[in-house]
C-alpha cells in the first residue's frame, strides 16, 4: 500500500490530502495534518474523493461520431481526425472560427498549454473557461 500526497479537486480551498493506493487502485483518502489549509480536516467531498476515480462510467477509449453514434476508435484516428478538422476550419473560415474552452478543473500546466495551442498553433484568442459560472 502507498499513500500519495496531493491536492483536493473540489473547491478553491485546496486541501492537502493523501490518496491510499492498493494494487493500482485508489481506495481511500485522508487529510494531511500539517497542510496549512486542511490541518487534519477534510469536508465530506474530500473524504470520498477516491470514489469517482474508478467509476465504471469513466471514459476509457477515444470516441468518434459515426452515423449519430459515438464509436470507439484508436488514439491515432481520433487525433488525426481532430487535427484535420481544425486545420480545415482554420483554412476555410479563418482562425477565429474556432473557439476553445479550457477548464478550472485542469492543472495550471494544462491551462497554459491550451492557451498556447489556441494562440500560437491555431492563431486565435477565442479561449475562455467557466470562471464566470
Amino acid at each position: 500500500m502507498a499513500e500519495i500526497l496531493t491536492t483536493c479537486v473540489y473547491c478553491g480551498c485546496g486541501c492537502g490530502l493523501y490518496l491510499r493506493v492498493e494494487n493500482g487502485r485508489v481506495t481511500g483518502s485522508s487529510p494531511s495534518r500539517n497542510h496549512p489549509v486542511s490541518q487534519g480536516n477534510l469536508c465530506v467531498k474530500g473524504w470520498h474523493i477516491h470514489e469517482f476515480i474508478h467509476s465504471p462510467r469513466r471514459l476509457t477509449r477515444p470516441l468518434i461520431r459515426r452515423k449519430d453514434k459515438l464509436v470507439e476508435v484508436d488514439w491515432d484516428e481520433a487525433l488525426d481526425f481532430t487535427a484535420e478538422s481544425l486545420a480545415r476550419l482554420k483554412e476555410k473560415s479563418g482562425p477565429d472560427s474556432i473557439g476553445l474552452l479550457s477548464s478550472a478543473k485542469c492543472s495550471n500546466e494544462e491551462n497554459f498549454l491550451l492557451q498556447k495551442f489556441s494562440r500560437a498553433v491555431l492563431g486565435t484568442n477565442n479561449i475562455d473557461h467557466c470562471a464566470r459560472l
Partner: protein, 538 residues
C-alpha cells in the same frame, strides 16, 4: 475579477485563508461558506470561538447566518444600495479612516459626494432590511481593528457583478481594512483551479499573468518565445461562443467543461453545440456536452497526473500522480501536444515540471514557481517573482498593485428580471454541500449520492401553505425560458417569495431556466436572480 483589478490593481483574494481566523470582525456577503468553502468556514468558526464578531449579508438564512451576530437578510440584487447605506452610516459616525484614504487611495471625493446625496432610510427600504440592524452592522464593521470581507458568487453572478465587487472594495478602503495583515477583501473561488486557469491566461484578453494580448511589447515577448505571430484582438468569451448558435465560432475544442449543464439558458447552448461543424471534447466522464461531440478524448483524472493547482489564496501546489491512467486515458497535456504536432507545431515536454519552467519564464507573478520548490514546501503564494522570492501571504502590503486604491462609486441597478404577476417567485441558484459543479465527479460516488440524491427546491413555509404543499411533493418550476420538474423542500432558509435550488443535477437542469442577462464588464451571467412560477403536480 474585473472589479478588484480596477480598484486594487489585482484580481485575487488579498488574504491567506489562515488570516481570516485572526480578524476581529468578519463580514461575509453572497457566500454560503459552510457548504461551498468548508475550510474557510472553519476559520470563521474558530475566530468566533475567540470572540470575533460575524456579519452575514445574504438573502438566505444559511448555517453561517444563524451563527452571525448580525444577519442582514436583504432582497436579492440589492447589494449596492445596502453597502452604500453602510458606508454612509460609517461616514456619519466618523468611523472612516482619514489617514488611509488620504495616503493610499484616490477619487474619494466622488464616493463621498455620492454617499451624501443618498437617503439611508430609502436604501434600507430598497434592500428590505431594518435600519437599526444596518446601523449596528455599520458600527461593528466601522469600529473593527482588523476586518475581513469574504464574498463569493452571490456577489458576482449578477447583472451588476463588477459594480458589486467595487462597492465591497470601497467599503474596505473607506475603513482602511486592506493592505494590512489580517484585513482584506477575499473573493472565495468556487472551483479548485479557477484562480490558476485565470492566472494561466485561459481568458480571451490576456496572456499568462494577466498581460494584455493588445499590448505590443507583451505580444512581442510571447511571439519570440513561441516562434509565431500572435493575434492582437481579444477573443470571444464563453457565452459569446456557447450562445452563438454556431455562427460566432464554427468549431470548438472543450477541455474538462460541461457547458450543457453549467451555462445559463441551456436551450441556446444545445442549439449552438448541435450547429457546430466540429466539436471535440476531452473529459473524464461522458458528459451532456460530450454526447454531442464529433470526437471525445478520454482524459486522465487528477489522480493520474502530475502538475499544479492554484487555490483561492493564490497558493500554487503540487498534484501528484498516484496511479497510471486507467484504460487508454491520456493526460490533457499529452492530448494538446499530440494535436499541436499534427498541426505542424513542435510541442514537446519531458514532464509537467518543464511546462512550469516555461510558465515561470513568461509570467512575472509565477517567476519563482518551479516544481522542485513546490515539491519541498506546501506550495508558494503568488506573486513570487524569482527563485529566491518567498511568495506573498497577503497582497498590497504598503501599496496597492496599481499604486493607489481607486474608489469607484456605483448606483443600484435593477436585476435583469423581476417577479411579476405571472412569475411571482424569485429564484436563486447555487451549490449544496455534497456536490460539486455539474456533478460529473461527485455523483459518481455512492456516499455523496446517498446523502444528496436529487435536486431540492427550497420554499418558505408561508408560500408552501398557500400552495397546500408538503415537503417532498413534486412541482413544475417554470420561468420564461423553460420548465423542469423538481421536488419541494420546505425551509426557513429562504424568505417568503424566494426559491433556491442547485445546479448539480442533470435530471433537474436548472440552467434551462436561468437568465443569460450578464454583467457587461465581467460577462458573468445573472444566475442568482430570475422570476419563476410554481405548480403542484397532482
Amino acid at each position: 475579477m474585473a472589479g478588484l483589478a480596477t480598484t486594487f490593481g489585482s484580481g485575487a483574494m488579498t488574504n491567506s485563508i489562515e488570516e481570516i481566523g485572526r480578524a476581529d470582525v468578519i463580514l461575509v456577503i453572497g457566500s454560503n461558506t459552510t457548504e461551498a468553502h468548508p475550510q474557510v468556514a472553519r476559520r470563521i468558526f474558530s475566530a468566533l470561538d475567540r470572540g470575533s464578531r460575524l456579519i452575514v449579508i445574504d438573502p438566505r438564512r444559511t448555517a453561517l447566518a444563524r451563527r452571525a451576530d448580525i444577519h442582514l437578510q436583504h432582497r436579492p440584487g440589492t447589494d449596492i444600495p445596502l453597502l452604500n447605506c453602510l458606508m454612509r452610516l460609517i461616514l456619519d459616525d466618523n468611523l472612516h479612516d482619514d489617514v488611509f484614504i488620504e495616503h493610499r487611495t484616490e477619487n474619494f471625493n466622488e464616493l463621498r459626494d455620492m454617499l451624501y446625496r443618498l437617503d439611508p432610510t430609502e436604501k434600507a427600504a430598497v434592500a428590505n432590511v431594518p435600519p437599526a440592524q444596518l446601523k449596528k452592522a455599520a458600527e461593528l464593521y466601522g469600529r473593527a481593528n482588523k476586518a475581513v470581507i469574504c464574498y463569493c458568487l452571490g456577489i458576482t453572478q449578477h447583472i451588476c457583478g463588477t459594480d458589486n465587487v467595487q462597492t465591497i472594495a470601497n467599503l474596505a478602503m473607506l475603513t482602511g481594512n486592506v493592505e494590512k495583515e489580517d484585513t482584506g477583501v477575499d473573493p472565495l473561488r468556487g472551483q479548485n483551479n479557477v484562480q490558476g486557469a485565470c492566472d494561466m491566461g485561459a481568458l480571451p484578453g490576456v496572456f499568462p499573468g494577466y498581460q494584455a494580448v493588445s499590448n505590443e511589447a507583451v505580444r512581442a515577448e510571447f511571439s519570440g518565445a513561441w516562434g509565431r505571430d500572435l493575434p492582437a484582438e481579444p477573443g470571444l468569451t464563453i457565452l459569446d461562443m456557447t450562445h452563438g448558435g454556431g455562427k460566432t465560432v464554427k468549431g470548438m475544442f472543450i477541455m474538462g467543461e460541461n457547458p450543457l449543464l453549467s451555462d445559463p439558458t441551456l436551450e441556446k447552448v444545445r442549439n449552438t453545440l448541435e450547429n457546430l461543424e466540429f466539436l471535440a471534447v476531452s473529459d473524464i466522464f461522458p458528459t451532456e456536452t460530450a454526447e454531442l461531440a464529433h470526437v471525445v478524448f478520454p482524459a486522465a483524472s487528477f489522480a493520474e497526473k502530475t502538475g499544479t493547482f492554484t487555490n483561492s489564496e493564490r497558493r500554487v501546489q503540487m498534484v501528484r500522480r498516484a496511479i497510471e491512467p486507467i484504460g487508454e486515458c491520456r493526460t490533457d497535456s499529452d492530448i494538446i501536444c499530440a494535436l499541436a504536432r499534427r498541426l505542424g507545431y513542435e510541442m514537446n515536454y519531458e514532464s509537467s515540471a518543464e511546462i512550469m519552467e516555461e510558465i515561470a519564464l513568461l509570467t512575472p507573478v509565477y517567476g519563482g514557481m518551479y516544481h522542485d520548490r513546490l515539491e519541498s514546501s506546501w506550495g508558494l503564494q503568488w506573486p513570487c517573482f524569482n527563485r529566491s522570492h518567498p511568495g506573498t501571504v497577503f497582497l498590497h502590503k504598503y501599496n496597492f498593485a496599481r499604486g493607489r486604491g481607486c474608489f469607484v462609486p456605483a448606483a443600484h441597478q435593477m436585476p435583469g428580471e423581476q417577479p411579476d404577476e405571472e412569475y411571482p417567485f424569485l429564484l436563486m441558484t447555487g451549490r449544496v454541500y455534497h456536490h460539486y459543479h455539474t456533478g460529473a465527479m461527485t455523483r459518481a460516488g455512492n456516499i455523496l449520492n446517498r446523502e444528496s440524491p436529487e435536486a431540492l427546491l427550497e420554499i418558505n413555509p408561508v408560500d408552501a401553505e398557500s400552495l397546500t404543499l408538503a415537503s417532498g411533493e413534486m412541482l413544475n418550476l417554470a420561468t420564461r425560458r423553460g420548465t423542469i420538474k423538481i421536488r419541494a423542500l420546505i425551509s426557513e432558509q429562504v424568505a417568503p417569495g424566494m426559491l433556491y435550488t442547485s445546479f448539480h443535477f442533470t435530471e433537474a437542469p436548472i440552467n434551462l431556466l436561468t437568465n443569460a442577462a450578464s454583467d457587461p464588464k465581467a460577462k458573468c451571467p445573472e444566475y442568482k436572480i430570475c422570476a419563476a412560477q410554481l405548480e403542484k403536480i397532482n
